[in-house]
Structure formats: C-alpha cells, structure tokens
Amino acid sequence: MLRFLISRLLTFIPTFIGVCIISFAFIRVLPGDPIVVMAGERGLSDERYQEMVEQFGFDRPLIVQFWDFFTGVLQGDLGTSFVTKRPVFDEFFALFPATLELSFCAIVIAIVLGLPAGVIAAVNRGKFFDRALMSSALVGYSMPIFWWALLLIIIFSGNLGWTPVSGRIDLLYFFPPVTGFMLIDSLLSGQDGAFTSAVRHLILPSIVLATIPLAVIARQTRSAMLEVLGEDYIRTARSKGLAPPRVNGLHALRNAMIPVITVIGLSVGMLLAGAILTETIFSWPGIGKWMVDSIYRRDYPVVQGGLLMVALMVMVVNLIVDLTYGLINPKIRKR
C-alpha cells in the first residue's frame, strides 16, 4: 500500500509542474500587452510604462519569470488582480465556498436520485421502469445545461414566481460571512427567513448543475449493478431465499459501488466546468463566474492563478479517488 501511495504521489509532481507551465505560458502568449490593457483608456507615459514593465518583471528572461511564478505558487502567492488589486489567492478562497456549496448540493442531489434510479433500472432490466429511467438519464446527459437553466428560470421564476433569478440571498438580509457557506451563515445569523431565502436561491442552480452528474451516476450504477447481478454469489444469495431488497441492496449494490465511486469522484471536474455556465446564468458569485469575468476583463493574473487553482482542485480530488480506489480494491495497488 505504501509503495502504491508513494508512486501515485510521485506522478502528481510532474503533472503539477506541467499545469504551472501551462497556466504561466497561456498569459505570455495572450495577444495584447497586459500593461496597456491595465492602463485602460487613459493611456500611459513611456516612463510609467517602463516602470510597470520592471514592476511586473516582464523585462526579465522568461525562465526567470517562470521561476519567480513557480516559487510564488509554492508559497501561496499567485500574484495580484489587475482589477481589484487584491491577491488572487485571497480572492479565490473568498469565492470558493460559494462554488463548494453549490457543487456540494448538486452532487448530493445527483447521488440521492442517481443511485436508486440506477438500481431500480438494473433490477427491472428491460421493463418499463428501466426504459423510462434510462431514457430520462440519456436526455439529462444530452442536456445543454445553459438552456436547461434558462428554461427553469422561465417556468419557476417567470411563470410561477417560486424562486429568485440570481444571487445567493435576498438583499434584505445582511450578515458578516462566518463560514462562507450561505446555508450555515444564514442559520447562524438568526435572522427570520434568511435560511429560507438562501435555500430558495440555491435550489435552481443546484438542480441545473446536478443534471449531468445525475445522469452519469444513474447510467454507471445501472451498468455496474447489471454486471454484479450476473455473479454466482448473487445467485447463491437468491437461492438461499434472501429477500430481494437484501440481495439487491446489500450484496449487489455494495460490490457495484466501486466504479460508481470513481464516477462520483471524476464528476468533480464536470461540476467545475458546469459551474462556469451555471454561475454565469444565475449570477452566483463563485469561482466559475469569477473566471469568466476575468477572461472578459483580461485580468491575466486571475486567469492564470484561477486556472492553476481549479486544475489543482481536480488533481487533488482525482488523487484521493485513486487512493481510495486502491484502498478498496487491492488489485489496483499491484499494477
């Protein structure tokens, strides 16, 4: 196990360096001079321009610039935003809870609905339930979620008026962020209706973001279950006269979980990609919207730092999935 752990950790390092190189290189090849962009319409005198080139170190060799960037990254310094003048690292962690809260709710919805759907479909293979569930899963999988979001807004916000269109909470409520998670903070604040407001803001974005992972989890659970249900020990359990829920739930699902857990872990990347669209549409102040806005504003340090942080998140989650996978299934370790 230790050898597996170490070898897996060792592959993490070159990938991390590679991601650093990519996010660094992107900014250097972007068209347009970042300093001119930063100066805006007022323009710059030649002396001030030179001063700023030196300040940002653009006059030094690329390799030196990269080394500075890389050592900075290792110390948690991702540079300063051109627009807000705040450190990118601080901005990332100020906004990250919003994305985390949204993604967490989405993945909970996806698991709570997706797992049973997959099990029911597998148990009723070829019957009506199977077909209905798998057809809906395929529709969900094919869904352009930006359109799905607009559709839900038309129905639930426009026609029915049940949910708000954007933001995390009504402007009526104000309280200092404690944890950064609106659901918890609104409860802590003790203000009447704050929690309900937070939930009402959260519900549509979570549904939208959950759609594709839900479909993927349902499909994966079904196929993993089908594979397991054909095994000998399931036949044994059945012939022993165990109740079907016990066989399906305990014997089969437990063994079908391994590929499902992998899919759940891998859907983190999917969630972050989905968060870009979901957060933009619902004006959700999280990482996705922050990245899109920075790209529009050509705020290079934020694009560079944000890309790196997001990739790092995905890599860490993939690493954890791999390690747990190795923990559950000893065969993997030997490879």
């Binding site: 592959t11 070159p14 990938t15 590679g18 991601v19 990519i22 992107f26 090849v29 972007l30 068209p31 057809s135 395929l138 529709v139 999988y141 094919s142 869904m143 352009p144 930006f146 359109w147 799905w148 607009l150 559709l151 807004i153 038309i154 426009g158 990347g269 999917m270 972050l272 990609a273 989905g274 870009i276 669209l277 933009t280 990245m291 899109v292 790209i295 529009y296 050509r298 694009v303 890309l307 997001v310 990739a311 995905v314 890599m315 993939n318």
Partner: protein, 305 residues
C-alpha cells in the same frame, strides 16, 4: 501479407453458414437497439436539413423585418403562418435561423471530430509503440490537459486565440483529443501482445505498416464509439462557448449564439429561447442514442452474451 482486418470473408462455403458481411453484421446488431435506430433517423433528418438549408429555409437567416419583431409562433394568439416559429427581437424568422443553425452544428461536430481524432489517434499510436520514456511524457501531458475542466480550458484557449467559431472548434478539439490518445494507446497495448502482431513482425513488417495496417484497424471499435460521443460533446461545448460570447459571433445563426442573444427576452418571449435549445438537445440526444447503439454493436463482449 496477412491483412487480418479484411479477411473475414475469405472462405465462402455455404450461403447459410457463411458469416454475413461486416456491415450487414454490424447493422443487424445496431438494429436491435430501437433507440439507436430512431437516433440514426433523426440524425439523417438533421443532416438533410443542414445540407439543403438554403432551399428549405423560407427566409434569409439574417434578413430583418422591423415590422414583425418578437412575433409568437403560429399557434399562439398574434402568431401567423408567415413565421411558423415566430421571430426574434430583430424580426428575423426563427425557423430559417434554426435551419441554418443545423449547418453550423454539423460543421462543428465534423471538424472537431476529425481534428481531435486525427491528432489523438496518431499521438496514441506513437505512445503505444514508443519506448517507455516517450510514452510516459506523452501520457503526462494528456493528464495535464485532462486535469483542467474542459470548458474552462476551451474558454481560456479561445480568449488567447480570439473569439470566433473556428477558434472555438480548435479549442474544443484540443480539449477532446486526450480521450482519443488514451483509448488508442490502451487498445494498441492490448493488440501488441497478440500473436498476429508478432507474426507480422516476424514476417518483416516495418513500423509504419505495423502501426497503420496491422494494429490500427483492430483498435477502431472503441474509437468509433468515442467519435460519436465527441461529436455530440463538440456540439454542446461549442454552443456553450457561443452562449458565453466566445464562439460564433452574432449575427451567425449558431444555436448557442442565438440563445445568448435571446437571454434578455426570456421572460417576454419564451420561443426565442426554447427553440434553439430544443434543437441542440434533440441533435445531441439523437447522436448519443446512436453512440449507445454503436457501442452495443461493436462491443465484442456484449455480442457473445
């Protein structure tokens, strides 16, 4: 030289016992999946619409009629048969724009799949045949690309290249390419240990022949399935980029771009938002249905059972 890939029909004995032709056999398995056949017909329908768009569309997709802005579809009060699916805020016919939009979606799917598959298959073949150090380097690079969420990477790439449909296609192709590399490499690895490859080597086949003639045809099944899946992914992602203003630029009647233009009217005119998205959904769904059927038909494990 033994060309294993096309030697299925070498000994035709009795018509009843002979194996059916490759395509016939494929179609027989494909046909069993009713959803896949429906998907196939929908796909063909959209393809015909895309090809004959200028003949089918009643209006020019970018001609504006200031007298008829935001006309609802014909079944709603205020709608008429001149504009069966209504008009957008600039008085352009929705139906004509949707029909022309089909062209862009198919263009996007085809170009992206060709770019991603060519690059990915070549890189995957090289990785599969290469010495271990080169293989490691290639696969690490693919890991790096895969660790960045696809849409985010595409977004940044388009920001670098400048927003346009072509650049969006290039960005999506780069993002989708690692999947082909992984698939091809894995398939090559399994094939390389098989006897027919060894015998081809012994018979003196050189590396290019070994790569492209001996091994590659036997790796194609998973790649074809992947091609179907990435065709639909490409349509979705390019529409998403268009929606974020980083893909096709207005007034191009690309479905994602149409949605972006219509966003501010969602609560006033449901049809300008509903139809382009529905078109994306139906196309992508049809292709995914086909992909499922392809997988079932090409997967040897399922065939035997």
């Amino acid at each position: 030289m033994a060309d294993v890939s096309s030697s299925t029909n070498t000994t035709p004995t009795d018509a009843a016992t002979a194996r059916p032709g490759r395509f016939k056999e494929f179609w027989r398995y494909f046909k069993e999946n009713r959803g896949a056949v429906i998907g196939f017909y929908v796909f063909v329908f959209f393809l015909i619409v895309a090809i004959f768009a200028p003949l089918l569309a009643p209006f020019d997709p970018s001609s504006q009629n200031r007298a008829a802005t935001l006309v609802p579809p014909f079944w709603q009060s205020g709608g008429n048969w001149t504009y069966p699916l209504g008009t957008d805020p600039l008085g352009r016919d929705m139906l004509s724009r949707l029909i022309h939009g089909a062209r862009y979606s198919f263009l996007v799917g085809t170009v992206v799949v060709i770019l991603a598959a060519t690059g990915g298959i070549l890189t995957g073949l090289v990785a599969g045949f290469a010495p271990k150090w080169l293989d490691t380097i290639i696969m690490r690079i693919m890991d790096i690309i895969l660790s960045i969420p696809s849409l985010l990477l595409a977004l940044v790439l388009v920001a670098i290249l400048g927003p346009s449909l072509l650049n969006a296609m290039i960005a999506i192709a780069i993002v989708l390419q690692p999947h082909y590399v992984r698939l091809t490499r894995a398939a090559v690895m399994t094939e390389l240990s098989k006897d027919y490859v060894v015998s081809a080597k012994v018979a003196g086949a050189r590396l290019p022949r070994l790569m492209f003639v001996t091994v590659l045809p036997n790796c194609l099944a998973p790649i074809i399935v992947q091609a179907a899946l990435s065709f639909s992914n490409a349509i979705l992602d390019v529409a998403a980029l268009g929606f974020l203003g980083m893909g096709a630029q207005p007034p191009t009647p690309e479905w994602g771009t149409m949605l972006a233009e219509a966003r501010e009217f969602i609560l006033r005119a449901w049809w300008v938002v509903t139809f382009p998205g529905l078109a994306i959904l139906v196309t992508v769904l049809a292709i995914n249905l086909m992909g499922d059927g392809l997988r079932d038909a090409l997967d040897p494990k399922l065939k035997r059972s």
